[in-house]
Structure formats: structure tokens, C-alpha cells
Symmetry: C5
Subunit: 318 residues, 5 copies
């Protein structure tokens, strides 16, 4: 029961505007039929209404939407669990650097910054809200994610290659650490490479998700179908001269028409949502907040580098 | 045959209340029609009943429910096999600590406690029954999962970050163990990191499952559809003046209407169950009992640290 | 064509009993209508038959079964490929133990026995046929899988924890081997832990498959639907007074009714099979034979421990 | 357009025989009706034809086939990508053996032969065409895959255990190599074990695919349904006395009936294909050619063992 | 709303040609009926039109297309995320070669070239546009991917084996590096083998995707069904003598027929696209551009080999 009445994030909130418009148009048509048209026009109107009824019942919209929406939902679920995360890459790097190195703090900090930078450059390509936050590389520099000499290097690349350039920097840093022997163990060199490469693969899959998803033309076709159903259902009604309760209900409370149309409209909405989940919509993935969480996480993992005191304290106090 | 008659966990038990209400309302309407209404009202009643019949047959509910429920069930199955477990993390840590270390018991115990704490903090975020058991951090402290100085550190974080703070402690402890050379082998340092990170990923996926699941508005839309079908099916009947057996059955034993409605109602119930499986319902996952099992498991794996005697006994006796 | 005529494991064999009963009842009803009922009763009968016809055509059983059966089949396929195997755990352990150790044979044998024991204790929980073979721990002891002092330790645990206790023994044995330096390489210690943990995860998933599968109430609902369809289809027929070939066929050769009902019945059967595949049914997974194969496998892998002669022979002879 | 006209591997080629038979029978029935039957018989014929029409429209075959075929296709796709390959096992072994060993060539050759033997013994169990090529162990010996003293050892086992015996030999060979120190690195011992075990798992999954697939009775049920639809559609037609173009078309060009039937027939064919893909059919997986490719591959990887000259040449020439 | 009006990559662009043809034919038929045919012919025309109407409504095309398209889309998505990439193989090799080796640059360059060559040889087998760019081995040599003495070796193999030959070269190169001790660590030898083998598996899966996909005959069958629906829908109309608005609309604005046909046509198009995604179509995967990106990537990773200066600069400047 509570499910039916909740307003926040609800069906009602999603459709109330469209619902009002739909009702106004429907009732206007009904009033025109009752009070404006003469008998001949009524005849023609009834014919067209009958044709629209045929139309609405002949389109197998529910099957179309069922296959469309369940396909895009499955894809969306797989995206949600495979989005690139920065925690593992950063934490493992921090854990694998020897303590008390001369440039340790600097290296660790730079690596974390580059991982975040790679994440941001990737999602700028596909997520409009993040693109608005970071419209150019200068904004990333102002946010402290990029240094000016790095920016110069990035600016000569097309945007789609920038994450790869940053990856190259990170790999170079790994080589540097290995050459100078500041990894705890030789195997850390390979392990960090693997993690970076998984991170790259995740980023690449996310871009592919946005670029090679359900074809736009298919989404458009389904959208046209649902909207044309909506238009036809505004006219679709079985009219008779007799003034029975049913005819009154049909004319002024189009329960069935409204219900069907908004059910289809909602399914369509969720299918499209799943096909492009990086927008501004309430149900979309909030990339901006997510990025904030990744930054906070990076700060947390960086603090792992030099907190020997607190651990011993934790252990000894327990 | 046994399948049909079982009561425990059965369909009957799930719906008997709704069934009684439905039958009472249906029969009341039938009685009103037969004994209260005059002929004119009967005419209007019959019209509305016919309209409701159209309504119930026009809504393609079964397809809607089919796609909805099979999508959420698939998601539920994938959740069930990917829920975070504590055994692997704890047992591997215990097995990788050198025996006869000064603080060995203390370290091992603390690590196991923190893993359980991370699990509990994660599921508190998404599972209401567990949230009721541990309404605040103090209750976790009373349960022995948290120490008071740790609680102070956690209290300054928002609830959603607390599992990450505990993860940070665990990573710090791994560093401590590595620095003091109490791992059996250098590779144990990396292996335990990997296990912790998988544990974190599992916890994160579970939270995502609860947060970024089938959109609420879609569940609401399906729910409204099924309930509106139920309401319409209370009125939907083909009435005739003739007193044939069929008309009697239709009026007083609404087999078909009832059957359809409760079939849809059940499917809806399972779809919603799969969409939020952490509640109090009989078919939900019992997180409280699961947590108890994880605690028992932790005690078991802890006993691995110092039982050389019993093994040799086992081996020698065989 | 051969597909149509095969008897073994065939459709015919699955349904011939139900088919006979169905036909007898159907024909009896037809005979009663033709030779027992008077004209008034015939009228009533025809009304009820018409109602039943509506009923059978209105229930969207095929969609219900389609979604139900394909969901449970997918789940079943994933079970089949993820069932726990003992070969990998045992063979890897045997291969990783140094040869010519004092207690080598004993250790290797004990480990293999415990792996088999863990497997048996797991499947006893979910598979009734295996439970009948090993009704209690004593029967396992008699089968040579358990020693009496081990049985005493297991008996104080609830059945669901017994596989975990055995896992603890195995982990303790790994520690013992590591401490006494009888692994070929230090990495074998970790590798065997990982394999044991995968084995545990597989066992746990199998138990989850049996315990948290498609909810019983849903299976029951689908079953009720199919059986009620069957009952209605016994009555459902369009009767006319005219003695045309069609009416004769409909009355005495209910091809369509029978066909539909048994098609649905079969789908239901397979859906239920997939939902609980550990029973006695011909199409179920034969856990008893599988366990026998695992025992034979264990003997085979154990022989790997001490057969240096035969290999050199094999190599030199080739 | 080209899609419509291609003959090779086409729909037309698959069904032209059945199509001819169908047409001849259909037209014969039409001719009998027009020129043989008298008016009374025509009446009866029309009744039966009408009943068959009901029958063909009442069977929800398309849904049945949709669920059946998409389930078996998904299973087939997962099989195709998970079939056991020999390249990885052989190449890794060859790469991990020290060069210039006394028995090096012999060992490497024997290992490769045994991997191929394991593959062949596995697919002999499930693939009839390969079984015809290798009807017994002697034929494998003649093909050079088996030596006579090995054959004696295999012959005392049931066929289903033979791949396991060969696996045991391979594991013994790994132990031999490890004992005699001819692996490049100690880790190669474990890595080759893991690869062998993955190979075994792949083989086992393939056997499970063939043995525990979609139950035969279900395939039979679907087959019966489609064929019975075909029979009914031969009779199903709406006949009237009037000689309109429509009635002429219906009688002598059964476009709709034919179309529906062969569409269903084709879907059935593909569903059955996916359920047993190891046969002789044109669309089946050609196991014999695949085995040939594996043998060629093995020869290629074996050449990796001793070709130091050519590499240095390659490198220096570049 | 924007979704409805976009032209680029839109539905309209995909179908406008077919749409014009369809409309012209439909209107021509309508005009012939109105102005050419006499009353008798009109009668026959109406009969055929009615038969076509039956035909279009009886074919369950939407279900057929739903199952077909969702199956091929799922397959397509899995292809997109599993296509072989060269970055990981090349970058890991470059990172694992000791710096300041005599032939270091040459080896690293050769390895990268061979990886790209393997990729190109694989996709030449399945992708016609790439085949047109590289019609023979000479064109690959001209592109700098192949050296002339290598080409001679490849030319004696069938095209399907060429990627394996190149793999053999790469493995030989790994052995060479291992023998001469220019890997940073012994484990790099195995790690690079594993990566090469994953690369090979990816390439093999892609070939399998193209070769063992949805059977051609099935695609053909679905295509025939949709086109025959289109033909029938050109004739299908309910004609009456009365000149009502409905009959006018039906005759000259075939909204419903057109809509249904082009909806099916589009679904078919996407299903076929997903079944063979390596063509020239706008929605296909652009293999040529992808190959260009892989070449650019290879250059980038090669620069990792010898850029110690820039890193130190990066680190020191930060």
C-alpha cells in the first residue's frame, strides 16, 4: 500500500505533466464531439475514432517494449557492476611503495592524482553533466587534478586519447619506481601493471557502453511507436448515441486509454534511461557525486602511506 | 500432488487474507445487483461491468509481469551468488600469520573483528532488520564488534563511508604485519590485499544492488497496474437476465476473475521481493541469521591460528 | 522422425498414466452428456462447458510457463557447470607434497578423504537420495569416509555447519604441512588454500541454489494454474445439437484439449525439475553415481603420490 | 536482397523436400474436395477443416518455439566459446621446459600427444562423427595418438573414465619433470597443473553439455507440437461454395498455411541443432576438422621447443 | 522530443527510400482500385485484400522478431566487450624488458609489430572492409606490418592459420628474451605467455563469433517473413463502397500498415546488424578506424621503453 502512495521518485512525479496535457486534450475532444459537431461531422468523427481504436489494439507495443526494455536493463545492470573504480588501483600502489622513501609522498600523491585524472577524462567523454563541470583542461587544472605542464602535453591530443596519455604517464611512473627499487617486492611491479590495465579496460568498456549501445535509430523507432500510440489513443473511443453510463465514462474518464498509454510511456522512459544512464535525470547515475566520492577515497588511501603510529596504537590498544 | 497441498511457505498462506477480502467484496457486489438494484440501475450496472470486462482483457498484464519478474529474478540470483562472505578473507589472513608471534593472537582477532564490522556496517546501510538490531554504533560496540576509541573515529564519518574507514584500518594492519615480518611469505601481503579488495568490491556491489536496482517508479507502475486490474475484475462480469448455471457461477463463484487476479498478484509479489530482498518477509534473505553464521565462522577460522596439537593428533591417529 | 518414436526418456513415458486418466474422465463426461442427461440438464451442461472454454482460453498459461521454465532452466544450466568437484583440490594437493616423506601417504590419503567427506556432507543437506544412503554420521563412518574420533567432533555441530568443520580440519592440515616443510614450494601453501576456498564457495553456492531458488509459492502457483487448466479443459467443449463430424470429434477425440493440457503439463514438469534437480526423477542429476565417480577419482589422484617408476617407464618406452 | 536469393546454406535448401511433400498433399486434398466428394461429404469435410483451423490458431506455437529456441541458442553460444582447446596447454608446457635436455624432445612430444588423446577421448563420447572415425582404441593407436602399451592400460577402463586416465599420465609427467628439474622455473610446475585442470574442466563441461542439456522429452514434446500443427494445417482452410478469388487462392496456393508451418519447422530445426550440435548436419560443429586443426596446432607448438636459430635470425634480420 | 526530430543516425534516414517506394506502390494500387477497376474486378480485389489482411494479422512477426533480435543483440554486446585488444599485450611486454639492452628497441618494436600483425590477420578473415584495405600480404608489407622474409613464411600457409604462425613467432621471441635474460624478472616470461594466450583466445572467439553465429538460414527465414509481410500489407485493406472518412484514410494514408511494416523492418535490420557487425554499414563497428587506433596505441606503448628522462622530470616537477 505504501508503494502506491509514495511521491518521491514515484511514477506520479514522472508523468503528472504529461498526464494533465493528455487529459485536457482528451476532454476537449470529447466536448467538441458533444457540443460542437453536427450530426454529419459526428458520423465522420465516429469513423475516425473507430479507426484509431483498431490502430491502438493492432500495434503490439507491449511486446516491443518488453524486449526493448529488458534488453537495455540487462545491459544497464552489467554496466553498474563494471564501472571503473579507483580504490583498488590507488590503494594497491600506496601499499606497495616502501616507507620512508625520499620522494615517496610525492610519488604516491602523483599516482593517485593521475588515476583520478584518467577517470575524469574518461567520463568527460560520455557524461554531459561532468563535461559541464570540466568543460576544458584548464578547469581540471584549477581543480588540482592536472598541472600546467601536463596540460600542455594533453592539449595536443584529441580528447578520446587523453586517458591513454595519462595511462602512459602512470606506466612510466611504475617503471621509475621499479628502476629506483622503491617497490616492496619485485612482484608489485607486475601487480600494479595488471591493476592499471584492468582500470583501462573498465574505462574502455564504459566508453563502449556509451558509444556502441542500443542503436539510436532503434530507440527512436520505439519512441515514435509509443507517441503515435498516445496520439491515436486520444481519438480512440467507441461512440454510440445512447447515453449509457459506459459511454459517459468512455467520453469523460478515459481510464483504459490513459492507463495503457502511460504504462507504455513509463516503460519507454526506463528503457531509454538504461540506454543512456549518464544524463541529468533523477534516476541516472550521478557521476558528479561519484567523482567526489572517488576523490575522498583517494585521500583516504593516500593516508595509508604514512600512518605507522596509528596502527601500532590500534593494535596495542585492542 | 504434495506440491498442491503444502501449507508452509505456500501460496495459500501468502494470499489468504487478500483472498477473503476479495471474495467478500465480490459477493457483496453480486448481492447488491440481485437484491438491491431496480431494473434501470441494473442496466447501468451491466454497462459498467461490461466496460470493466473490456478493461481487464485489454491490459496485457501477463507480459508486463513476465518481463518485470524475470528481469528482477535474474538480478536476484546474481545477487545471491555474489554476496560478500567473510570466511575467505579471515581464514586466509589467519593462515598467513606466522605462529608463535608475540601479538599474533591479538592481531588475528582484531582483523577478524574488523572484517565482521565491515560486513555489518555495509548491511546496516541496506537491510532494515539489521539496522533495527544495530541502530547505532554504540550497539555495535556493545556487541563486541567495535571498541570505544574506534567508535569515536567512525562517528565523525557519514554512515556510507564507515565501511571504507574500516577497510583503511585493515589495510593499515596488513602494512603493520608486513613491516614487522610476521607474514609467512612476502606474497601473503599482496594476497591479503587482493582478498580485502574483493571483499570491498562485493560489499560495494551489494550496496549498488540495493541502490541502483529496478527503478522504484517502475515497480510502482507495475503495482498500480495489478491493483487496478484487481479492482476492475471485482466489477467485471457478463450479466444476463437468464438464470442459467453459468450466470450463477459467474455471479457467486468468480473462479476466473479470482484466479487471474491472484496469479498476477503473486507474480508481482515475487518481482518486488527480488527487487528488494533484504526485508522482513518470509522469503527474504535472513541477514540477521546470516550475520550470526559469519560470526560463528570467524570464531572457527580464528581457532586455526593456534591448534598445532590437535592436527598432529588428527594426522597421527588416522 | 526417430525423435518422434523413441520411448526411452520420452514424453510418452512421462505422461502415459496421466494421459489415460485424462481420456477416461473426458470420455465419461461425454458419454454422460450423450446418454444420461435430459434436455434441461444438457442446457446447463452446455452453459458450464462454454464457461470452461472461456476459462481455458483466457488464462495466459503459455506465457506464464515460458517465463517460469526459461528462468529455472537458465538457473539449472548455471548450476550444472558450477557444481563442486573434488578432482582439482585433491590432485593439486597430492602433486604439491614432497615425495618420500615419512607420513606422506597418510597425509595425502587423509586430505582426500576429508575433501570427499566435505562433498558428501554438503550434498546430504540438499539431496534426498544421498541422505537416504547416508542417513547419519555412522553410515559415513561405515563407508570409510569418517573416523570415529572425527565423528564425535562432528556430532556436536548442527548438520549445516559440518562441512565447515571439515574445511577447518583441511586448513589445519595445510598449516601442518607448511610448518613441517613438506610442500614442494612455499607457494603451494597459498595455492592449496585458494583451491579449498573455491571448493567451499562451490559447495555454498550449491546449497544456496537448493535453499534460495525460485520461491516454493511461485512453483505452487504455477502448478495450481496448470492443474486447474487441466480440470477446466475436461469440461471445455463447444456443444451443439447437430451431429456433424466436428461435434463428434470434439466429444470423443479431444485432440486440442489434450494437446494443450499435456504440453503445459510437460513444461511445468521441466520447470519444476530445474527448480529442484536433486531428486529421484529420471531426469534429475544422479548424485549417488556422481559421488561414486568422485571416490574413484580420488583413488586415481592418490596414486599420483607414489608412482615414480611407472612414469619413467612411460617416458622411456615412448 | 542478396540475403533472399542465396542458395548455399539457405532456408530453401533446408526445406525444399518437405515443402514439395507438403504442397503435393495439400493440393491432393484440395482436388479431392473439388472433384471427388459429393455434397454431404463436402459438408463433413468443411466441418473438419474448420476444426483444424481452430486447432492451428489455438496452439501458441510461436511462444513455445521462442522460449525453446532462444534457451537452446544461448546454451549453444556458451558452448562454442567454452570448448576445450589444446593450444594453451601444449604451448605453455613446451615453453616451460628447459632447452637442451636429454629427453626433452621426447617428453614434449609425449605430453602434446596425450593432450590430443585426452581431447579425442572426450569428444568420442559425445560426437558420433568422431566416434565413427575412431570406433575403438586401436584406431587411435593406428592414428599415432596412442601407443600399444598405453592402449592396454586404457582398455581396462570404461570409456567415460579414459580421459581421466590420460590426465593422470599427464600429471605424472609433470611430477617427473619437476623431480628431474627440467622446468625453467619452479612456478612452471604449478602453472602447468592449473592449465591441465582447466583443460579437464572444459572437457567435463562439454560432456555435461551433451549429457545434461535440454531434456530429450522436452525436445520431443516441441517436435510433436510442430508436426501436429503441420498435419492440421494441411486440412485447415475456410471453405465456401462461392467461387471467389480468395477461395481459389486458399484452395490451391496455401500461402499462409505453408508459411506458418515452415517458419515453425525452421525454428524447431535450429532449436534442435543447438541442443545437439555435434552431429553430421551442415550447421553442426565439424569436430573432425577441428581435431585436424588441433593436431596441426600441436605440431606447430612442438616446433617451439628447439628453434633457437630461427628466432635469432628473425630478430637480427629485422 | 529531440529524440523524435534528430536526423543523423535516425530511423528516417535508414528507411526513407523504402518508405517512398512503399507509399508509391500503395497509392498506385489504391488509384487503380478507384479509377481503373470495374465492379466485378473490385469484388475480386476486395476478396484478395481481405485475405491479405488475414495474412498480416495471423503472422506472429513481432514475437519472432523479439526473440531473434534480442538473441542477436545479447550476442553482439558480448562481442563488443570481448574483442581482442593489443594494448595490454604490448604494454606489458615493453614494461618487462630490461632497459639499456643492446637489441632492446629492436625486440620491443618487433613484438609490437607482430601483435598488430596478428590482429590484422585475424580481422582480415572476417571483416570485408579491412580485407579491402589489405587484400593480400604484400599490402601488409607495404604498410610496414610485415617484412618480406616473414611474408614468404606466411604465404605458404592458408589464411586461417596465419595468425597462429605469427603467434608462434611471438612465443619464440619470448623464449629468446628469456634465454638471453633480458626480462626484468623470471615471472615476466610466464606473464607474457599468458597475455599472448588470452590475446589468441580473444581472436579465436571473434572468429567464432563471425563463423558460428546465428545460422544464415534462420536470418534468411526471418527476412523472408518480414518482406512477405510487407508485400501482403501493400494489398491488405478493408474496403467498402461507402465513402466514409475512414475508408478514405485507409485507401490513401495507410498509417497502420506502414507503421507496422517499417517497425518490423527496422527490428529485422538491427537483428541482422548484430548478427554480422563487421560490414560497411553506418552502425557497424568501424574496424579500419579501430586498427588505426591500435597502431597509434602501439607507438605510445613503445615510447615507454626508453623515456627515463621525462618521468624523472614529471616526478621532480610535481
Amino acid at each position: 500500500m505504501k508503494t502506491l502512495l509514495r511521491w518521491k521518485g514515484s511514477t506520479y512525479r514522472l508523468i503528472w505533466k504529461e498526464f494533465l496535457i493528455y487529459m485536457v486534450v482528451y476532454l476537449t475532444i470529447s466536448l467538441i464531439y458533444d457540443f460542437v459537431l453536427d450530426d454529419d461531422s459526428k458520423k465522420g468523427f465516429e469513423d475516425i475514432a473507430a479507426y484509431c481504436s483498431t490502430y491502438t489494439s493492432a500495434l503490439p507495443i507491449i511486446l516491443l517494449l518488453g524486449f526493448f526494455t529488458s534488453t537495455s536493463m540487462q545491459r544497464w545492470f552489467s554496466l553498474v557492476t563494471s564501472m571503473p573504480g579507483t580504490s583498488k588501483v590507488i590503494a594497491n600502489f600506496v601499499m606497495s611503495i616502501k616507507e620512508n622513501q625520499k620522494e615517496g609522498h610525492q610519488i604516491v600523491h602523483q599516482y593517485a592524482r593521475w588515476v583520478l585524472l584518467g577517470w575524469a577524462l574518461t567520463f568527460r567523454l560520455i557524461c554531459k553533466p561532468l563535461k559541464r563541470v570540466f568543460p576544458d583542461l584548464l578547469s581540471l587544472e584549477n581543480a588540482g587534478l592536472l598541472q600546467s605542464h601536463e596540460r600542455l602535453q594533453l592539449e595536443i591530443c584529441p580528447a578520446s586519447n587523453q586517458p591513454l596519455v595519462v595511462l602512459q604517464w602512470k606506466l612510466t611512473l611504475l617503471k621509475f619506481c621499479n628502476r629506483n627499487g622503491i617497490f616492496m617486492d619485485i612482484s608489485d611491479y607486475g601487480r600494479n601493471q595488471d591493476l592499471l590495465m584492468s582500470f583501462k579496460k573498465s574505462c574502455g568498456d564504459t566508453i563502449k557502453f556509451a558509444a556502441k549501445n542500443i542503436p539510436f535509430a532503434l530507440i527512436q523507432a520505439v519512441t515514435i511507436t509509443v507517441y503515435s500510440f498516445g496520439l491515436a489513443s486520444l481519438m480512440a473511443r467507441q461512440l454510440t448515441d445512447k447515453h449509457t453510463p459506459t459511454s459517459f465514462i468512455i467520453k469523460y474518464f478515459p481510464v483504459l486509454n490513459t492507463f495503457q498509454y502511460f504504462l507504455y510511456y513509463l516503460w519507454l522512459k526506463f528503457g531509454r534511461l538504461a540506454a543512456y544512464p549518464f544524463g541529468d535525470d533523477e534516476n541516472d547515475i550521478d557521476i558528479k557525486r561519484l567523482f567526489q566520492a572517488h576523490i575522498e577515497g583517494a585521500v583516504r588511501w593516500l593516508s595509508l602511506y604514512s600512518s605507522p603510529g596509528s596502527t601500532e596504537q590500534l593494535v596495542s590498544m585492542s
